[in-house]
């Protein structure tokens, strides 16, 4: 990794955004893990927990690199292009009967969106240090996309009707 410029002005703002992006992804995966633990889908809960840990490592790496001691309070909510940060899975993506493949499918989409987000900044008129950092992050996200695709090859693809429950916990009666 090339040495990056000292945190200042727009570069620091960009890195704070990148940190928030990772943090929000971490929080969402942790939420999903908790939801699926509660609903006795331990296998997928474990996978989401793993994804949360990976995103938390990415967030920590940004803190270390910027030599920030940590964010004392949650960073302000940025105005993202969408409703949430590009790497945050939509809150309604989960299902209690989902399988590991579905969780990876969600992660794949999130990594692709993050890659697109950084590519957009790299191609923008942002200051050079910001564009350089964005380019580097886009290539990191591209690597994550590749890794998740590899991971998905090792996980069975769900059969049709995976969400059919003969005795659903909640139904109109």
């Amino acid at each position: 990794m090339k040495p990056r410029p000292k945190p200042a002005g727009q570069y620091a703002d960009f890195m704070a955004r990148a940190y928030t992006l990772e943090l929000e992804a971490t929080e969402r995966y942790a939420q999903f893990a908790e939801q699926l633990e509660t609903h006795n889908n331990g296998e997928v809960a474990k996978l989401f927990r793993k994804l949360a840990d990976i995103e938390a490592l990415h967030a920590k790496r940004i803190l270390d690199e910027m030599q920030w001691p940590g964010m004392p309070v949650l960073p302000p909510a940025y105005a993202w292009e969408g409703l949430e940060a590009p790497e945050t899975a939509p809150f309604d993506s989960v299902h209690y009967l989902m399988q590991p493949w579905h969780a990876l499918e969600i992660a794949l989409r999130c990594e692709q969106d993050a890659q697109k987000y950084y590519q957009g900044i790299a191609a923008s008129r942002a200051p050079q240090p910001v564009r350089d950092a964005a380019r580097e992050m886009a290539s990191e996200e591209a690597e994550h996309v590749r890794l998740i695709r590899e991971w998905m090859k090792k996980v069975p693809r769900p059969k049709a009707g995976w969400d059919e429950d003969p005795d659903p916990p909640r139904t109109n009666e």
Partner: protein, 280 residues
Amino acid sequence: MNVPLTAVQTAPLQARDFKSDYKPVWCPGCGDYSVLSAVTKALAMLNLRPENVAVVSGIGCSSRIPAYTTCYGFHGVHGRALPAATGLKAARPDLTVLVASGDGDGYSIGGNHFLHACRRNVDLTYIVMDNHVYGMTKGQPSPTTEPDWCSKLAPGGTGVREFHPLVIALASGANFIARAFSGDPNGCANLIAEAVRHPGFSFIEVLSPCVTFRPEQRGWKDAAHPAPVAPTDDPGRAARRLMTDDGFNIGVLYKGKRAAFSPGSAASARPQDLEKAFAL
């Protein structure tokens, strides 16, 4: 060294400090998870401490929220969260009081309390998680359900016009009216924080999809959009806006200037004496 207690500095809390160890039992994908997240983020943004906040609720999926926070909580009777919260705020004006409800709890059995809470304008923040259905009791139509929503329990739909909570809140005197969307938890957190800061009765309707009984509500994320106009303090203008609203305008829609109601005098009796009066 003698340090006065008031000089003790406490570190600002983070959203997670407002989350209790109880795991929510909502269906995976339920919008209420995001509302919980938004509430905890808002409390952190406001630099509040859990011991200075009370979350009061009624009955229903949304009303589980108090248990999932580290604040004081009161999980009350169906539809009766607002009177309990009003009493609490009158007795303890120092507390920040949030009231959580759903469209069934808040607009049906609690509908009358809603009108009078707006009218009284006590400094409360009322968060209604609206999913247009009774989720906890397995999918009956609620006051905000569309008349043609067809289900096993209401074949062909109810044919009954839906309730318009924002218009009713305005007509009844609410001092702050906003709509949020659970798919935008950061935006929702900002709106909750703004509602808490605004004096008087603040009402936030949060569109919070029920993925189990109303899976089509996943489409709300495409329908929700920022309100194209700035908030107004003119009730007439707000009324026109709300009456022609598409139901998906997100943001602050009305910010009134009424002074919050507070009891005019200090308590005239001690709780112990009151208890005696109720002794059997």
